[in-house]
Symmetry: C2
Subunit: 256 residues, 2 copies
């Protein structure tokens, strides 16, 4: 008897987002689905974990092959709780998303969606984060759902090397305009002019995080930003070993 | 006239920790010091940013060449606010720490201290995160302070390449036992059995994040964990481009 696949789903927009519904739809045909996702939106939480407060885990529903839990913590807390307290065995795949909004370029570092993905990868599980470049609650996931399947089936067939996961982003285009999937590198980029300074009714200053993204290599056709701008979906393989090996050699020549 | 250096200091243990006091002492001789650090401990915040709540910035003191601000947000928020709203020009150096506790191996991913460091690096500023392997409030920073100076002076002299920052950790040993500074790679490792499950007075389950670190390559003498265990300080060069370039070539052979 062939054992059914076990797939863990998480995200950073919360267990009740349309994006996670789309994600569940994508993976449902492949096996048993366990969803553990934040109880509310936790965008920008990166790889944060909750140390000072206890965590809550609530089983919300179990139907057919899909069980859904909400977690009071971050996306990474959700994956940790899922792996340590929920699933009976190690999942065959972790998918995170589908995120409402881009996680291309430097946004990967701030992204809770990619935090959950990378946490899966740290645990030795094939992991993929999916995002569409549309922040709205009613973003259209049709294109993303179709090509997410292609990517997931390739990962099932070929696996991912230890310490590598995938960051997948989809442009907002029609099926006709869509040019296909492109393997890319993370674009060098930065967020600029990031604060909106205001004064509250008590005459105290406060700041809202805002700003705009600046692409530092707009002409590089190997980058994820270029791919997305040119109607491709971008797939960036991400490693969890952050060591700069060339710089190790350089540092050995310093007077340390 | 030589312009004075401008150095930004942050951390994740809060503006009033002993570690940040030690850090300020280290950099004070090198120029004008601006401290922007979380108003309270924000360990485990990784690269998280605050999107849903406004941020507050409070100027706490200005004496000699040191100005101290507290920030209501995360370590990364603190660096962003400092760069966007506090400093008049781009700092010559960002130092984060000295952290109470290890940020070696995979802990770099969860670390707010390294979040602040990496945010400096994203902004093109030479950035170094310092940690000692002692969580206690009264950790001894004597050794770390001495060798942090050496590392900082080397960075002033030689600079750091674009997109690379340093993760420096110090063991808890005497000056006699200390073997020196070792250039290392990030150890492959993972946190295991991470939750302490309890029942609250209302008979509801809750979970505390806990667990122990497992080194997946304990015999590799090029790793930061090996160095620290063998009485060296570890210096790991960290890159902010997470792309796995070998895997890009591999993925291009897939049916995508």
């Amino acid at each position: 008897m062939k054992t059914q696949r076990l797939i863990l789903v998480s995200n950073d927009d919360g267990y009740d987002s349309n994006g996670i519904e789309a994600m569940i739809e994508v993976v449902r045909p492949y096996g048993e689905i366990v969803v553990v996702a934040p109880v509310e939106g936790r965008s920008g939480m990166s790889h944060a974990i909750t140390i000072k407060n206890p965590l809550r885990l609530n089983k919300l529903k179990q139907e057919d092959n899909v069980t859904v839990y909400s977690c009071s913590g971050t996306p990474v807390d959700s994956v940790k709780l899922a792996l340590n307290q929920v699933v009976k065995r190690c999942p065959d795949l972790i998918v995170s998303g589908i995120n409402h909004g881009s996680n291309a370029s430097i946004s990967i570092i701030y992204s809770g969606t990619m935090g959950a993905t990378i946490e899966g990868c740290i645990n030795g599980i094939p992991a993929i984060g999916f995002s569409v470049l549309d922040h709205s609650r009613n973003a259209d996931f049709t294109l993303a759902k179709k090509y997410a399947k292609t990517i997931i089936e390739n990962v099932f067939e070929k696996g991912l090397p230890d310490g590598v996961c995938l960051n997948v982003n989809f442009p907002v285009v029609s099926h006709e305009e869509f040019k296909g999937i492109k393997i890319c590198k993370q674009t060098r980029g930065i967020w600029k002019e990031e604060f909106d300074k205001r004064v509250d009714p008590q005459k105290q200053d406060y700041y809202w995080l805002t700003g705009y993204f600046k692409n530092l290599e707009p002409d590089d056709q190997t980058t994820d930003e270029w791919a997305l701008k040119n109607n491709y979906a971008s797939v960036v393989p991400i490693k969890i070993d952050f060591t700069s090996y060339p710089m190790m050699d350089e540092l050995k020549k310093w007077n340390l």
